[in-house]
Symmetry: C2
DNA sequence: CTAAAACTTGACGTTGACGTCAAAGGCAAG
DNA sequence: CTTGCCTTTGACGTCAACGTCAAGTTTTAG
């Protein structure tokens, strides 16, 4: 399929797809006229990329993880990279949880001033 | 105190403090010569701002929350804003947790190919 | 009083993940 | 063959949270 179809099927812009290619996250064949050609699996791959972006990973980080997905890496190395990244995510979750706690504290304060409990 | 002291005491750059003021997160009195003057409480306030930034909140969002902290808002409205923001954080935590799950799945896959269990 | 340190505003630089033209070529339909 | 939509590369625009000069003023130390 060509870039437009992949874009709509994966729910992203064509600009994003070209950007992913530029950053080494996504490859494509080229037709004789130079147009990008994608296989079916590309849809899934783009969705995975999207989810990783949604999880706050940078394109650089994702680029470092793709060889794991593709199996172009010794399993040991792949595991190491993935685990490092998972630890990063754990750290972020911890930070967010802490922030949530601070917010909750402020909410409780408001409730106190207002003279009734919060849900 | 002046901006330099506040900066070192709160652990941020003077540039950051001026930026916070520009964005409405932090106020200051001015000396006759135009230099910024801060009260003691500013230290705490800057630290709170820092923590909110650390929790991935934007300056815009934080600006929307400051009236709650300052009590310049009806407690009901304050509570509403804070709760909305807390829900946002919950959503982000959920996304990160999902991403963590996907990564863990990939890790398991690597382990399987490699023929031995993961920690 | 003078030099150094701190402060002022203004403005351009940075990084990331694209958005948004622009100019030009490609491709299926009538 | 000619619309008209799709695609190509190139390049500038954007937004956030500051960093980093620059040039001039103020405060402080000696």
């Amino acid at each position: 399929m060509r870039i437009g179809e992949l874009a709509t099927r994966a729910g992203v812009s064509t600009r994003a797809l070209r950007y992913y290619e530029e950053r080494g996250l996504l490859e494509s064949e080229r037709s004789s006229a130079g147009q990008r050609q994608y296989a079916e699996e590309a849809v899934e791959r783009v969705q995975l990329i999207q989810q990783l972006f949604a999880a706050n990973l940078s394109s650089r980080t994702i680029a470092g993880l793709m060889p794991c997905v593709d199996g172009d890496l010794s399993p040991a190395e792949a595991q190491a990279r993935l685990t490092r990244e998972r630890d990063q995510i754990d750290a972020q979750i911890a930070e967010l949880t802490a922030a949530r706690g601070r917010l909750t504290a402020v909410i409780a304060l408001c409730a106190k001033e207002y003279g009734r409990p919060v849900t």
